[in-house]
Structure formats: C-alpha cells, structure tokens
C-alpha cells in the first residue's frame, strides 16, 4: 500500500521576515487541483513566503545562513516591527488519499526558540515536517541559477539538486573532504606522529649506545645482546654487591632500587677531600662528552652536503620563476581558464593576440615551476627535521659540560629558517662552521678532562678511584636503561596511534569510494529514467523539435556534460557552444520537473520561487502551459500541485486571466511591508474595508492609506477582469504607484468606446454616475493627490468618501436579475452584454 502524499492547501503567516501582519495574519489558500500562482511586486513579501516555507520545513533560511556571525542573522527571522517579536507560520496539508487535513504551527520567538505543534492533533508534527524535506518541494532561483553554471564540475554539483540528489552530492563531497590525504595528514597529525616516532627511535638508539658503553666500563666486557638488558642489569648489581664497601647498599636490591648518591657519600666518607669530588665531576664530564660521540660525524657530513645540494637546486628553481606578482597573474589566468571564462586556448586573455602555442599549457608550465620550487623547499625542511645533524646540533648546544651561552645558541633560529624556507647557502656554511667549532670544543675538552683524570687518579688510592668510576658508570647504565625503556614505550604508543590512523585512512578512502560509486550509479539511473520526459518537456517549452539536448555524467567524476544529440540535423555537438541562456534554462527546468514528476516522496507540491524570471516571455508562457495542461494534478492523474511565486508583471497578466478558471488559482499580494500588513486579494476585500473603516474612525490616516490603495486597486482590477475591459500591453509594468489611475484610464476609455459605438450596456443612470460622480471623486480625492506625490495626507472623512465611491463605482457594472423569484445582483458579462 502506498503512503499518502500531501498537498499544501494553506499558509498563514505573521511576524516573520518582511511580513508583520500583527493581529491579521497573511492568509493564502492553495488549491490541490489547480495551479496556484502568487504575484507580488518587489518588496511586498513574496520572498518572505518562500522563506517561511523554508524555515517551517527545512528549519533554515538560506539568505540568513549565508550572513556572517557578526551580522547577527538570528535577529532577522522575526519581523523587526512586530511588537511581540514573534513569528507564527501555520501550514495546512491535505493528504491525497481522502484523509483529514493536517495543520502544523511553527513558531519562533525573539530568542530564536523554535516550537512546532499540530493544532489538528497530529501526533508527530516535527516528524511530519522532516518527511517533507525533499529537494523537489521548494525550488528558488538561487538553486536553479546554479545549474546554469558554465563548468561541467559546477554544473554536476548543482545538477544533483535538480535530480533530487543534493544530499547525496553533499555527503559524497564530505566523504571526499575527510579522506583527502593532505587533510588527514594535517587533521590527524599523521606527519607529526611519523616524525615523533623517528625521534623516539633515535633516542632509543642513543640510549642503547650509552647502555653498551657504560656496561663495558663496569663489567669489562661488551653487552652484545639487547634482549638481555635485564640480565645485564642483574650482573651489574651482582658485581657491585661483591665489593665489601658497597655490600650493605646493594645486596638484595634491584638496580632501580640502588641509591647511588648514598654509595658515593659512603666512598667520600671512606676517603674524603676535594680531589675526590673533583675526580667525580671530571668522570661525569667525560661521560657526558662521550655520550656526544654517539652522533656519527660521517653521516652528518653527508647530510650537510645533501642539504647544500638541495638548497642549490631550490635556488635554481626559484631563479627560473618570475617572482610572486607573476605567480598571482598565472594563478588568476588558470582560474579564468579552468572556470571556462576564457575559452580561446590560442589567444592571450590579456592582450588578445594570437599565440602559436596553447595558453593553458604555458600557464601550467609556469605554475609547475613555482610548485617545484615550493616542493623543494618542503623537501629541505623535512630533510633537516629528520636529520641526525639536527639531533647532534641540539645535543652539543644543550649539554651543560660545553656551557654554551643560551644567547649564542643557533638551533632555534636555524629551525625557523628551515621551516620558513629562508635558509641560504651562507646560512648553511655558517652553521656547518659552528657545528665544527662545537665538535672541536668537545674534543679539546675531553682531552683536557682525560689528562686531569689521569692526574687525579695518580694522586688518589687506586682501588677507590676505580670504584668511583664503576659506581658512576653503573649509575649511567641505569639512567640509559631507563631512558631506553621510556623511548621504547613512547615509540610503541606513537606507533599504535599511527597504525590506527593509517587504518582509518584506508577505511575512509574505501568508504568514500563505495559511496561515490553508488551515487554515480543512482545519478545515471535517474538521468536514464527521465531521459524521454525531460526531452519532451524541453521541446514543449522551447517549441522546437530539431534541437535535442543530452545529459551525460562522466564515469568516476561529478562532471555533467550537456551535448546536443540533434541540432537542426547535425549531431553530437557542444551545447555550451550553441545554446543560449534561455535554452539552458529550459533544459534545467525540464530536468527538474521530469525528475520531480517521477519522484514519489511525501510532498506532492512544488513551490517555484521566481524560477521563471530568467525565461523569455514566450518561453514563460509555454512553461506555464506545460505545467497547467500536462503536469498539474488532476490534468495529470499522478501529477503534482504547483505553487508559483512571481514578481513578473507580464506573467501576472497570464495568472490574472487564468485566475478565474477552474484549473488555476491566483493570489495577488498587496500591502505595505515590513511595517504594515500584507494581504492577499482572495483574503477578502471585506476584511480590508473593515480595517480601513476602523483605522479612519480612530484618526489613523497614514496607517489606512496603503490599505485604501490596496482596496482601490483590488476593486478596479476586479471590474476590469469581470467585464473584460481591455488594457494596454504595458498596463502591468507601468509605474505600479499609479495603478489606480491606470485602471481608471482603461475603464474610462473602454466605456467611452462602447458608448460612442452605441453598444454600452450600462443604463443611463449608471453611465451618468460613473462619468460625473464616482470617477471624478476618486480622481480628485485620490489619484491627483496620492499619485502625484504631494506628500500630505487627506482627512479621514475624505478618505471614507473615497472607499464609498469605489464601491458605488463597482455597482455601475452590475445589474439585478430575477433568479427563481429572488433578485440577484450580477456583474455584466462585458460592457456590451449581460
């Protein structure tokens, strides 16, 4: 059993965006079995209607979403002149299975709180609105216009919306964004993790060197197997425990538990003195300097040469480019070409001279040089960051034994230069020299300390000298072992984090591919399913049979190409090269309508907001006729309900003509937003008149004036429509502020013409009242005052007379007819017949 689909049958609106209508909500009814049009000149609130539907159904107003936060978009939902600063949107939906109508009320208060209820008692009003969130429910010009984009990629992106696949397109792009390698490297710190792992590995290797050296110093034989480090630690404890002086400090303890400071104090006590302390310091100093020896100077020299070569290569690449200004020029030119703004590949976009070679290839070549230079700079930075030289440099500058003044240290500045890419060959030479100075200084110092150690050892008892050495190296063994284990632990933790990130990278890349392939297939299916339909609609709108468009989506890509499978007998031609904007508009709306017709979502209505304004007048007409005769329910049994919003004056003539027929329901909005009320004509002239009377009685002349104008326009246009008075072709698009005068002129001209021809149906009294009383009263008390911009207001009494005059004027076009014994007041059929 298929689910019920819903028509939109009523919208009432108060306090939202441009619609104030405090106490008298704008009330528009839509018929499910007719095309519904809503016309308003610019500034009357038509956009507010579309935005109200957007807000109610999609919980968004795109125009406000695009504002910056500092523009405080949240303050522009509710009408700024509504005293309660509160919006109420009431919607009524009628199911197409004969069920009861559902009413939904969406409210928003000044603080931005949204509340949804169902006055008709529907149990899940929020869920109902969610079910209406379909691409086909609302189409505004902004979305529509983007389909007309020139580039295949941009077209492909927006085309998804026309096929009802915008959510798929957005989600696929989202998945692509998060699976992008560069984004993952940055966002998930993958590069940083790799660098940190390498650093931890280097730290562990250095610690291991220290372990081996100190073990040999204590035990006299090398530590060859790194899997036996615990055994080596036990052997050291055992060796120390064998020394009588130390026994009480070592026996029964692990290496970690031994207090080496206590042992040293014990030795000092055994033989105190300054020379003992100095020997200890000298040994510590030597150990620190020996630790520096783990850095392989030959590797560092190779790295220095490599960096020199890389800097040379970078300099050569930079020299081949033409500087930053030209880079920006080439980038701009590439954008112009890629977006399809410039299509002459053998012509210069600047001077328009002809070129012997391709401009895009030239720009591509130039930009490649900049990219190569940037890549080389990056390579230099990465090489430096991962180099042994950097670690060595850091160790030499920071070791306390060399006592380098922090102000003279160069590492920080050097890092900055490598990171920014500013490192030069001169910088490199200076740093190599500084490195050599540090190494020389360390080498000299270790020699001096060695000499001093020999001298002190000669002066002190040999057994205790050796013991002091052993204790110090045992302590260093423990320190190196601790460091080694810590580095291993850090490396292991980092490796786990890297592994799972790479696992995610693999997963999300495959998942994005899975989604993309499925979306591409769905898009192709949709295009294939509507192929005949959109081509038929295109033909109906354009009224041509020998121009046939053909949509093709590229495999694996979002690009959408539009070809012409037939162009006046020629085949497979470029649509872009041949089709005017009007044709492209027709193609876009054909695709959208064909896709909408084949869709079976919950909404069975389509609201088109000013979509037709980009069409030529003739194509607007054929589009409307297509909707009216083929797409609208019930002409099309499976058809949709159309609600067309427009500010197009010429189109309104078409709406107005059809508005009194069964298949068309027309609403015209008039009023004075954003402060005053907006009312639809079908909302009831009587209500308008009552409001005018109330305002004038209270002396609120300026508030009543726009409503009087609205009332006059309504009544005069009603006369024109009812008795079929012809109007000039520019009637609807002439100055709308003079509409009352325009209407009176048209009525007066038609009456005079019929009178002179002896065909006027009006009786003598009506004719006389019209010419001598009512028209002069309205011209004198309204047209000549308000349509000439005199500025001041007339009195309430005069304006009350104007409303009386217009009612009396309308009566001049009616007659009494006896129907079944009752007298019925009816409009003349025309100026010459009943």
């Amino acid at each position: 059993m298929s689910m019920a689909r819903y028509f939109l049958t009523r919208l009432t609106l108060e306090g939202f965006r441009g619609i104030n209508n405090e106490g008298t909500p704008l009330d528009i009814r839509f018929k499910p079995d007719a095309v519904n049009s809503v016309f308003a000149v610019n500034g009357i609130g038509k956009s507010s209607i579309f935005e109200a539907l957007c807000y109610a159904i999609f919980d968004t107003v795109p125009k406000l979403d695009s504002l910056q936060a500092q523009e405080k978009p949240q303050e522009y939902y509710c009408n700024r002149f509504h005293s309660q600063n509160a919006a109420v949107i009431d919607l009524e939906f009628l199911p197409d299975d004969g069920g009861q109508a559902i009413t939904i009320r969406v409210q928003r208060d000044g603080a931005g709180n949204r509340a949804v209820i169902s006055p008709s008692g529907y149990t899940d009003p929020d869920g109902f609105l969610l079910s209406l969130r379909e691409d086909f429910a609302l189409l505004d010009y902004r979305t529509f216009a983007r389909f007309i984009e020139e580039s295949p990629l941009e077209r492909g992106r927006t085309f998804s919306a026309l096929l009802g696949l915008s959510e798929y397109s957005d989600r696929r792009q989202g998945l692509q964004a998060i699976s992008d390698t560069r984004a993952l490297n940055t966002d998930l710190d993958i590069k940083v993790l790799k660098a940190n792992i390498k650093s931890a590995q280097q730290g562990a290797a250095q610690a291991l060197t220290g372990i081996r050296a100190s073990y040999e110093k204590v035990m006299g034989n090398p530590a060859t197997d790194i899997d036996k480090l615990d055994t080596y630690a036990g052997e050291i404890v055992k060796a120390l425990a064998g020394i009588e002086l130390l026994k009480s400090h070592v026996q029964g303890k692990s290496l970690d538990e031994i207090d080496f400071e206590e042992i040293k104090n014990e030795i000092k006590t055994a033989e105190g003195g300054d020379k003992r302390r100095e020997l200890e310091q000298v040994i510590q100093g030597i150990a620190k300097l020996e630790a520096l020896a783990v850095h392989d100077l030959s590797t560092i020299q190779v790295e220095q040469q490599k960096l020199g070569a890389l800097i040379g290569e970078r300099d050569a690449l930079l020299a081949a480019t033409r500087g930053d200004l030209f880079k920006r020029l080439y980038q701009s030119a590439q954008t112009v070409i890629e977006k399809g703004i410039w299509t002459e590949d053998n012509q210069c976009p600047l001077c328009e001279s002809q070129l012997a070679s391709s401009i895009s290839a030239h720009i591509g070549g130039q930009l490649t040089q900049y990219k190569d230079a940037a890549a080389k700079t990056h390579e230099i930075k990465d090489f430096w960051q991962a180099s042994s030289w950097k670690d060595c440099f850091s160790a030499y500058e920071e070791t306390t034994i060399l006592a380098i003044d922090p102000q003279n240290r160069k590492l920080s500045n050097l890092n900055s230069k490598f990171t920014s890419g500013d490192i030069s060959k001169d910088d490199l030479a200076e740093v190599i020299s500084w490195t050599n100075d540090l190494i020389t200084k360390a080498s000299t110092l270790i020699q001096e300390l060695g000499d001093r150690k020999e001298k002190l050892e000669a002066e002190l008892p040999a057994s205790l000298v050796q013991l002091t050495e052993q204790i110090e190296y045992a302590r260093q063994f423990r320190e190196a072992l601790t460091q080694y284990r810590e580095k291993q632990k850090v490396e292991s933790a980092l490796q786990s984090r890297l592994d799972i990130r790479e696992r995610w990278q693999n997963f999300i890349t495959k998942a994005a591919g899975l989604f993309s392939e499925a979306e591409s297939a769905l898009s192709k299916d949709r295009i294939a399913a509507i192929d005949a339909e959109y081509k038929s609609m295109f033909k109906d709108i354009m009224q041509v049979g020998d121009v046939v468009p053909d949509l093709q989506r590229a495999d694996e890509k979002q690009d959408l190409h539009v070809q012409l499978s037939d162009f006046h007998g020629q085949h497979k031609l470029s649509a872009r090269a041949l089709l005017s904007e009007s044709y492209r508009n027709a193609l876009a709306i054909s695709v959208f309508l064909a896709a909408a017709q084949s869709h079976t979502g919950i909404p069975r209505f389509i609201v088109l907001d000013d979509v037709t304004s980009s069409f030529d007048a003739g194509h607007q007409y054929f589009l409307m006729e297509l909707i009216r005769t083929k797409l609208q329910c019930p002409q099309n049994a499976a058809g949709l309900q159309f609600i067309i919003l427009s500010h197009d004056g010429l189109l309104e003539k078409y709406f107005d003509r059809l508005g009194s027929t069964d298949g068309w329901h027309h609403n015209k909005l008039q009023g004075s937003p954003p402060m005053g009320a907006v009312l639809s004509q079908t909302q009831g002239a009587d209500r308008l008149k009552t409001t005018i009377g109330t305002l004038l009685s209270a002396g609120q002349v300026s508030e009543a004036e726009p409503l009087i104008r609205q009332y006059l326009e309504y009544k005069l246009q009603q006369i024109i429509r009812r008795v079929a008075i012809p109007v000039p072709i520019d009637f609807a698009i002439k100055d709308t502020n003079r509409m009352v005068g325009n209407c009176l002129d048209a009525i007066k001209a038609a009456v005079d013409l019929h009178d002179q021809a002896g065909a006027l149906i009006l009786d003598a009294q009506q004719k006389q009242d019209l010419a001598t009383v009512h028209v002069p009263a309205i011209v004198g008390n309204w047209v000549s005052h308000y349509e000439t911009g005199s500025g001041s207001s007339l009195s309430a009494a005069v304006l009350t007379g104007v409303t009386t005059s217009i009612d009396a004027l309308a009566e001049c076009f009616k007659y009494d007819e006896n129907v079944g014994g009752n007298t019925v007041r009816k409009w003349y059929k025309s100026l010459s017949s009943r």
């Binding site: 997963f507 899975l514 297939a521």
Partner: protein, 79 residues
C-alpha cells in the same frame, strides 16, 4: 567489500543508513566510529559549500575516537 548500490525508491536517510551498514564490510570497528560521527559529517558540505572548520572538527572527533579505541583494546588500559 561487497557491491553496494543505493535504492532509488528509498529516502536519503535510509540509503545512508544502508551505506553505513555496507561500510562494516570494510572495517566494522571503524564503521561504527563513522556512524557515531555521522551528524558531524553532515556539516562538512552543505548545499555544495565546504566548511573547513567542520572538517577539522570531524577529524578531531575521529582522532579522539581512534585513541579511545586503542585504549579500550589495550589490556593494560593504555596510557
């Protein structure tokens, strides 16, 4: 990884749900993380407009979830 396709008669939400299920065929644990963060994924591209901050926020949430996954699968309770 099995072949996967969207059902043209179903809503986007239903199809996205089916996609999340299908992604379990690639890696079930990570598919669960993707599902948990599906709402944040929505924010990255809306009406064709990319939001870099939303992408960074999504990946930050993923990184946290991945670290939590490591900790939960580490018998020592992780660091």
């Amino acid at each position: 990884m099995a072949n996967f396709s969207f059902d043209g008669t179903k809503s986007f939400d239903e199809n996205f749900e089916a996609f999340l299920d299908a992604s379990k065929g690639i890696d079930e644990e990570l598919a669960n993380i993707l599902r948990t963060n599906a709402d944040a994924l929505k924010q990255i591209v809306r009406e064709g407009e990319r939001d870099t901050n939303a992408r960074v926020a999504f990946n930050t949430a993923i990184a946290d979830a991945l670290d939590t996954l490591i900790a939960s699968s580490d018998p020592s309770g992780g660091e």
